[in-house]
């Protein structure tokens, strides 16, 4: 039964990728894309309900493993992938009208979009630490040509940087995986089971601490490149700014989470083996550095997508920091923040995408008076910004509040640093978004109506979760947090 559900979850995007590879040039390709993503989402919901009912389980001869932690990311990934496909349908059409994209580029985009979803879902659900690596690398490969979709010099440069940096980073992660196997082989024996996370988890106390320590450093640096942790972040703003906006939305909202999930899987093993807070400290250090550096860079940005990319670095830093602190509350808060950030940041990118289309530029000084151009886009961007900055009614406030109170409790010295960084970020982003949303403009409203249902859908979700968290959801998060320790 679980095999079947999992097969549906992974099979639909794979099938979608193949179908769109064949029919991606047809006029109805965008609808097919949305349909496939929608089916994937339904499959993920079915799977989620089952896991919530029946608890963690393995599938396909233990090659896949689903527990409360990754099923929550599976649901989130499938949901955001679905809404992004809804957003990209009109968005990409408008780009095509503007002559920025040709049919063959769209063909590539649609098939790669499905394959990207597939690789991320594999990375989330696999039980094999080696397959996680393979899927993460495949995720890079599927997106790298999307980043350079516009074929402009800047987009090529961004894609090259993305490819090389993530390739190198992920190679280091492979070295970490090999070291992990090296340690596991001595306990579990040679053969297939030594990389299976469930098996590793059972024997984590016997794994050689020196090797695991080294392995974790490599894994963190490797997957950390993908998460966008400072100082390994330099590909992230470029790729987000130069790629098509739907790609920025899924990179920011999903890929970073998946990479973080891989790190968390390793952290559980390392904690079990070392019995110290080594992994947590390392993550806290990277996280804190990312928050501070990203906040300082935010105020210097001129490109709107670049600015929100830095905001993603900041939030991923915060989540990494929270996971690093460990303990039920901090882990709970980190997962909540992961959800909120994914929903909010993708909503912001949708709004930004339309704003950029309307004004014809990504330079913030030339984007003015969005309220006049299109009230929906204006409100979408304004509310999204409020949400991401952690204004009270939205869910981001709740998760940030939880993270900071936990930090105050456990690591008081970090609190002023975090608060100062968040304050700087607030001032920088708010100061830049305000004139873009309000203010005067000369741009005439464009004929294309924006597709903003996904934006408001996400924001409403974030708002609801900020005001009221359903008990079963809270319970679910709590169970997942307990799994991660």
């Amino acid at each position: 039964m679980i095999d079947l559900q999992l097969m549906a979850l992974l099979g639909i995007p794979l099938l979608g990728g193949m179908l769109l590879a064949l029919f991606g040039a047809r006029p109805w390709a965008a609808e097919l894309n949305s349909l496939m993503s929608g089916c994937t989402f339904i499959a993920s919901v079915v799977l989620t309900l089952r896991v919530i009912d029946a608890g963690p389980q393995t599938a396909f001869n233990e090659q896949f493993f689903i527990d409360q932690f990754n099923v929550f990311l599976v649901a989130l990934t499938a949901f955001v992938a679905f809404t992004t496909s809804l957003f990209s349908r009109p968005y990409m059409r408008i780009e095509q009208h503007h002559g920025k994209l040709s049919t063959s580029m769209l063909h590539l985009y649609y098939s790669m979009y499905q394959l990207f979803t597939f690789t991320m879902l594999v990375a989330l659900t696999t039980n094999n630490m080696g397959i996680i690596w393979v899927a993460m690398e495949a995720a890079t490969l599927t997106t790298v040509l999307l980043v350079s979709l516009y074929r402009t010099p800047a987009s090529l440069e961004a894609a090259w940087k993305y490819f090389i940096l993530c390739g190198v980073g992920i190679a280091l992660a492979l070295f970490g995986t090999i070291l992990l196997y090296f340690a596991a082989e001595r306990v579990l024996g040679e053969g297939g089971t030594a990389l299976l996370w469930t098996h590793l988890n059972q024997v984590k106390g016997q794994l050689e601490p020196t090797v695991l320590k080294l392995a974790f450093v490599f894994l963190l640096v490797g997957y950390g490149t993908k998460i966008g942790l400072v100082p390994l972040h330099s590909w992230l703003p470029d790729a987000h700014a130069e790629g098509p906006t739907p790609v920025s939305a899924v990179l920011s909202g999903l890929l970073l989470n998946v990479a973080l999930c891989a790190v968390m899987r390793s952290k559980v093993l390392v904690d079990g083996s070392l019995g110290t807070h080594f992994a947590g400290n390392l993550m806290m250090g990277f996280g804190l550095l990312s928050v501070v550096v990203a906040a300082l860079f935010l105020s210097r940005q001129k490109d709107i997508k670049r600015m929100f990319a830095y905001s993603s670095i900041e939030h991923m830093g915060l989540i990494t920091f929270a996971f690093g602190m460990g303990g039920p509350v901090a882990t709970f808060a980190a997962m909540l923040h992961m959800t909120m950030h994914s929903l909010t940041k993708s909503a912001i990118f949708y709004a930004v995408g339309h704003a950029v289309q309307k004004c014809g530029t990504q330079q913030m000084e030339h984007i003015r008076g969005l309220m006049q151009v299109s009230p929906t886009v204006g409100w979408g961007l304004a509310l999204g910004t409020f949400a991401i900055l952690g204004m009270p009614p939205f869910g981001v406030f709740a998760s940030e509040f939880l993270i900071i109170t936990t930090a105050m409790h456990e690591y008081p010295w970090t609190t002023p640093i975090l608060l100062a960084a968040l304050g700087i970020a607030f001032a920088a982003v708010f100061g830049k978004v305000q004139p873009m949303v309000f203010g005067e403009t000369t741009v005439k409203p464009l004929p294309h109506p924006p597709a903003l249902i996904p934006v408001f859908l996400h924001l409403v979700l974030v708002l609801i979760l900020g005001l009221y968290m359903p008990p079963y959801l809270a319970n679910w998060y709590r169970q997942a947090a307990a799994l991660l320790g």
Binding site: W133, V134, V144, I178, E185, E190
Partner: protein, 220 residues
Amino acid sequence: MQIPLALQFVNLLASMLLLIVFAMLAQRRILSLINLFAWQGALLALSTFVVAYTTAQHHLYYSAALTLLLKVIVLPWLLHRLIRKLNIRWDVETLLNIPTTMLAGIALVIFSFNLAAPISQMSQGITRGLIGIALASVLLSLLMMLTRRKAVTQVVAFLSLENGLFFAATSATQGMPLVVELGIALDVLVATFIFGIFFFQIRETFDSLDITHMEKLKDD
């Protein structure tokens, strides 16, 4: 401590692997660089084969065959084709100060040997130190990526990095599960194709494969 001859041979191959990475680090000509890369692949295949023979793990034979096919035949052939098509077959790259690079390389080797020393002490005999050599060749390939200014040579460095990792996977740990190795091989192959696509896009856009043109995106 006397270790079997076959594993001494693996040790020798490992050392030669390290030597080839050093040679690549100092190689100016793109064509020779690709040939060195093919040699590296051949060493890798041979050492995988020897490990397969001594540990009697049959799936490692597949790995060895895969390595031979992919890294000695297919990838070098693709790269040769590529540089012929891009007409950069005889290109020579100006390298910054080879002695300094070499000294940095030695420092990296010492660093990685140091890092791997505790691991090699705890593993029993046979694969002592191979992790250290693999790590050293990974870091040296990274250094090579940093010092290179041409897209093609950066890619060769990337592939050599992958080779170092593969060596760690097959020889030092005596083989990862086959499904993982297949996945890695597939990723490398696809990555090479994408790199190829990139070369043409980059040259079309910048009229050159020099990545110094691609340093515009910066936070000022």
